[in-house]
Amino acid sequence: MSQKITLNVPLNRVEGDLEVRAEVEDGVVTNAWCSGTMYRGIENALIGRGALDGLVITPRICGICSTGHLIAAARALEMIAQVEPPPDALRARNVALMVEHVQSDVRQSFLTFSADFAVPAYRNRPMFEEAVRRYEPFKGDTAIEVIRETKHLIEIIAILGGQWPHSSFVVPGGIVSIPTVADLLQCQLLLRQFRHWYERRVLGCAIERWLDVRNAGELDAWLEEREAHYTSDLGFFIRFAQAIGLDKVGRGHGAFLSYGSFDLPAETRAGAPTAGARLIPAGFARGLQVHAFDQSKVAEHVAHSWYVDYDGGRHPFDGETQPWGPGVPQQKYSWGKAPRYDGLAAETGPLAEMIIAGNPLYIGLISRGGPSAFVRQLARLTRPCTLIPAMETWLGEASKGGKYYASPGEIIDGEGFGLMEVTRGALGHWVRVQDGTIRHYQIITPTAWNASPRDRNGVRGPMEEALVGACISDVSNPVELGHIVRSFDPCLVCTVHTVRRGQTLGNVAVGAP
């Protein structure tokens, strides 16, 4: 006789405002629900404020991606003002944004994702002791090194942005903090030191060698090529993740979205200088079939979200955020809306960027085994390899006394959007300004895509879909589900850091659905 139970997955250990519920039958997940449990109201708070206020308020949405929100807000206003920042301003913005990516990728990989390798559920695994030595919280060799090394990276934003935290150096038309030659040299030194550590500790090889790994077979060969590869943290991740089967779980819908990111300066060695070109391309992929991105195909559904209902999905320029609790019993279950592209649920993040950019390794891995928690996390862990060389190029190209600002004039009327890739994937700001005042503001974050609830058609969000089919070995400790969810690096909110007495580590409730 089959047994059907519901697990409330203890994801307040991941993000305090994300809850995941899974229905498990005979040890296999048959259904799942991701629920955002807190209403933020940032979009509504912006209405009626000055046109530039989004530059100050939206970076407070996230303590990790504040530079991303700052640049997205500025890009939306630049579209209204029809102003393009000078090349050196683009270089400085790109480098600062990449710092956020690199720091978060490394911290998430080794302080959050790999910490799950050192839990008692794996104590009988041959690699368990090594996992504990590397990743045990507050003690693991790698965990300690990651904090020591990544803390210096943020100094680059402080130098380019004039201050940290709360750098507000990005404005419509460019940046307001002009780096000196000494500033740029200091940034290059900090980046060089980080590259050396990342290559030695994380990769076990030069970035250029890793970028030569171009398919699944070459990945296997790379692992065995040198002891430094095998024993590096990347090598250990590959071995451990495959040993526990992360390459076979977390498939999802197999649809991927990237808005594209890092506007290319007019003349740069980092990429082809075509108008509007970006280092990371925009696109939408079903499987491995990549299509051109069209922002008019973005829409948000609220059928299963705690907002006043409307038919179908709405483009962000037509969207609204009207909190509304009741609805049909059991139907609404999240404060997150359900973004869809051309009516389809799509995941976003480093793996989507790799697929849409045509990265041969990730195309090969998807071709061999399909999307999985392993491939998704591998893409994040190695994304710095595609970013650091461009950062070095742009810091070298930025010129002494260069032009960093072009006046946008007064921003009175119009509508614009700022779309880009931030650390966790596609971020969009859509703003309408009238008489110098914000009349409409809609934001879709990467986790809104990934942790989306069901849409009008009842289609599960990407993370929900990725959980279905996962086998649970111990329902009292469903570590498998934690791996899958963390492979998306969800971030529902990280803006309230109150010190709490009696904060629990979460629990698992097993009972009737």
Binding site: R13, V14, R501
Partner: protein, 155 residues
């Protein structure tokens, strides 16, 4: 160097006490050698501000320590034990203080937290600001154990 670091989110009422104290203090003439920092949401990224300081006084919202408007002094170790064992997007001051001895590249600073309960009134903000200045100025508060200095019953 001594520092007062006010942390929190001025756009979330339950976490806005730190920024409110920052706004209060920035209008004052601070003594030489004392630096005031708007720590915002930075969490672990505030580590660099601890590595070259002899004393750091954090000011932050707290929850579960007393009635609304209560202002408390907490020692570093009292906060560090509250840290989740995992780094995540909620990792704030407790995580920072828990990991500090393992990763600090300079001399470990003395750390105190002035905690403020609830959505405090201006009197509590002023009291917390005054207390921060006293501790950062070395008035002796720094060596006292956890203590509520302004318990005010909720309305």
């Amino acid at each position: 160097m001594r520092r007062i670091i006010c942390i929190g989110n001025r756009y979330a009422a339950q976490d806005a006490a730190g920024p409110a104290v920052y706004d209060h203090l920035r209008r004052l003439q601070l003594p030489a050698g004392l630096e005031l920092i708007d720590g915002g949401l930075a969490g672990l990224d505030l580590l660099r501000y601890l590595e070259d300081a002899e004393l750091v006084v954090f000011v932050d919202s707290v929850s579960g320590f007393g009635a609304p408007n209560t202002v408390l002094i907490l020692a570093e170790e009292e906060v560090a034990v509250l840290a989740s064992s995992r780094y995540d997007h909620s990792a704030g001051l407790a995580y920072l203080l828990r990991i500090l001895p393992e990763v600090c590249e300079g001399v470990l600073p003395q750390v105190r937290l002035i905690g403020i309960e609830g959505d405090p009134d201006q009197a509590a903000i002023g009291e917390a600001a005054t207390l921060a200045l006293k501790i950062a100025g070395g008035s002796g508060y720094a060596n006292r154990p956890s203590e509520a200095v302004r318990p005010v019953a909720a309305d």
